[in-house]
């Protein structure tokens, strides 16, 4: 027993840095955000009240705690703007996740079925856009989607449309942007799972009389489910709080939480309300995070 003690101490020390890191750079900011969300806006620096009076001792603490309230959350609940932004975010993120699965799963399947020596190159093609700034890529979509943009130009020349389509600054443009930007996060986990599937499983299904369609639906897809769940989580979670895509590609009526948060913070300088929106987003994505964790665990269990 005693002989193990130093080893156990060492094992604990090794595990300490990640915890310290998470505490300093994740837990602490969340606590600060939570605190600000319970404060009131003020014309001051920082722009909220109350501030903790460190010299006030126990009394300072109690006046500080008494001044905190849930007013900002009540505003979120009562004002239809925030409710609409919440539903908007969920709808955009949910819809885009469904589209991403519909697009990303076949793409991942094609990747996994490609000749083994060509796969690294194809995977690199999926990853290559990351080498360019995200912002620049979204701006590129503006150039493609605007009235006199590339897409309209091509469609007009082909005679497929008589008048330019108004795509930019609509819901469609936001969807296109979301699906474009997050596609690698869906494709890569699904590909990783499909690539590891024993090819003999597909062969066994075919050997037992299943045509390619049945093989896909009854064997490949169910076994790739952990990857799809992981991909859906990786896409849905950041999309709920997405700001750049709805701001640049969406219209004035495109309501998403990230955009509301930004305007509360930078336009209205209402830090407390912005913080309350941030906490709301955090709570929303907790669900998918739990799902994601279970999905990944399920994948690990498979021999």
């Amino acid at each position: 027993m005693n002989r193990d003690a130093p080893q156990r101490l060492f094992a604990r020390l090794v595990r300490l840095p990640p915890f310290l890191w998470l505490a300093a750079f994740f837990l602490l900011p969340v606590v600060i955000t939570l605190k600000i969300s319970l404060s009131e806006p003020a014309t001051a620096i920082p722009p909220y009240l109350p501030l903790l009076d460190w010299q006030g001792g126990l009394e300072g603490w109690s006046t500080f705690l008494e001044a905190l309230n849930l007013d900002n959350y009540l505003t979120l609940a009562r004002d239809p703007l925030y409710r609409d932004a919440l539903f908007g975010s969920l709808a955009y993120a949910g819809g885009a996740t469904a589209l991403l699965a519909a697009l990303g799963v076949p793409l991942a399947y094609a990747l996994a079925r490609a000749p083994a020596r060509r796969q690294p190159f194809l995977v690199a093609l999926i990853v290559v856009p990351f080498w360019t700034s995200f912002l620049i890529r979204v701006y590129a979509w503006i150039a493609i989607l605007k009235q006199e943009g590339l897409l309209n130009l091509v469609l007009l020349k082909l005679g497929l449309i008589a008048r330019p389509l108004a795509i930019l600054n609509t819901d469609a443009a936001v969807m296109i942007g979301l699906v474009y930007a997050y596609l690698p996060f869906m494709v890569l986990p699904v590909y990783a799972v499909m690539n590891r599937l024993d090819p003999a499983l597909r062969e066994a299904a075919a050997d037992l009389g299943a045509g390619p369609t049945r093989v896909f639906w009854s064997v490949t897809l169910p076994l790739a489910l952990p990857g799809i769940v992981a991909g859906a989580g990786l896409c849905f979670i950041p999309m709920v709080g997405e700001f750049i895509i709805p701001d640049l590609l969406g219209g004035s009526e495109t309501l998403m939480l990230g955009r509301v948060l930004w305007s509360e913070f930078f336009s209205n300088r209402d830090w407390p309300l912005a913080s309350a929106v941030a906490v709301l987003i955090l709570l929303i994505v907790l669900g998918p995070v739990v799902l994601l964790r279970d999905g990944l665990r399920g994948e690990g269990e498979r021999p």
Partner: protein, 352 residues
């Protein structure tokens, strides 16, 4: 009927680039036969099996089942089923769903009855709802067998069916596999690298070497009358004594002049000219110590209960292995000088 189906391979060839994995293999399988493809890894036996199943397209040649040319048919259209080396059980399905996967054409009731019948056949009744990952290796192997038999294939292909089992289970399963095959009368083609397994299972063995089917025959014939040093060495321990071929004798045997005196052995299958360089292949159990034969020294003796294994040396130091009942030659201690002989029909002359 299954029992009347015959498989014929005609000049079947598979090339990967310049390398011929399977090189012009001709083979006709008897109906209801248990056939083993035996060879070291990389000899092309698995590729041959996969071409019969339809997973690899042959570069040239034909696969004919009964009267039908099935060379171009995709796997899901072939009346042939395969049991995979890894078993390839669907991990997300129950045992019953695995076994019933190929029974989609049947009605639900008929399929369920067939699954129950198959699980009884492989002695897994009551395992219907279990997942493959909760089964032992031997149980998984039996599920894979039941699943491969579900569609009443005219031909069952088995890729190293016992490879993933441990030794004790292997011998038990070998017997079971034979019993199932006899009961159903389906033709089985088994791929294995284990000569003992091939000899225990098969009616006939086809030995493959570097893509070619080098010899086909009943296990005993292959063991006693190998056509090459490769086959002789593959099927068990063998002594190869080099020498020069003498003239043909009236009784079909020939004398080979070795460095230590003449020996007599069954003539070679291929006609070889007098004076050709040959080897005489003798199994250790055919070498008897006594008054006749080549002069040897007993270098080592190991008592194994049912037999004694001896290491002998010819005067030039060439080792010979002999194995016999403990009583025989018991008076020959290590260091004794004696003679090692064999019956002419227990040895075979092979090209050097």
């Amino acid at each position: 009927m299954a029992a009347e189906t015959r498989l014929r391979l005609e000049a079947l060839t598979k090339r990967f680039g310049a390398h011929a994995a399977v090189d012009a293999v001709d083979l006709a399988l008897e109906p209801g036969e248990f056939f083993c493809l035996l060879g070291p890894s990389g000899c092309g036996k698995s590729t041959l099996l996969r071409m019969i199943a339809g997973f690899e397209a042959p570069t040239s040649g034909r696969v004919v089942l009964g009267e039908a040319d099935i060379t171009g048919l995709p796997p899901h259209r072939r009346p042939v089923n395969m049991m995979f080396q890894s078993y390839a059980l669907f991990p997300h399905m129950s045992v019953a769903a695995n076994v019933g996967y190929g029974l989609k054409g049947l009605g639900r009731g008929a399929a369920a009855a067939r699954v129950a019948e198959l699980l009884r056949l492989v002695r897994l009744d009551g395992f219907d709802a279990r997942r493959p990952d909760t089964l032992s290796g031997g149980q998984r192997q039996r599920v894979a067998l039941a699943r491969a038999l579900a569609r009443e294939p005219r031909l069952l292909l088995l890729d190293e069916p016992l490879g993933a089992l441990d030794r004790g289970l292997r011998e038990e399963t070998q017997g079971e596999l034979r019993a199932v095959q006899r009961r159903l009368g389906t033709s089985f083609v088994v791929v294995t690298h284990d000569p003992e397994e091939a000899m225990m299972l098969a009616d006939r063995i086809g030995v493959m070497d570097r893509g070619r089917l080098v010899q086909v025959g009943a296990p005993a014939d292959l063991y006693r009358r190998p056509a090459s040093r490769f086959v002789a060495g593959l099927l068990g321990d063998v002594n190869l004594i080099p020498g020069r071929l003498g003239p043909a004798e009236a009784d079909g045997t020939r004398v080979v002049a070795t460095a230590h005196g003449p020996v007599r052995a069954a003539g070679p299958a291929d006609p070889l000219a007098e004076g050709a360089e040959v080897v005489v292949a003798v199994r250790p159990e055919s070498l008897a110590l006594g008054a006749e034969g080549l002069p040897v020294t007993v270098a080592d003796a190991t008592f194994l209960g049912d037999r004694v294994r001896r290491l002998l040396r010819l005067p030039d130091g060439t080792p010979l292995r002999a194995s016999g009942p403990p009583g025989e030659g018991g008076a020959q201690p290590v260091g004794a000088e004696t003679r090692a002989g064999f019956a002419p029909d227990a040895a075979v002359i092979l090209p050097a």
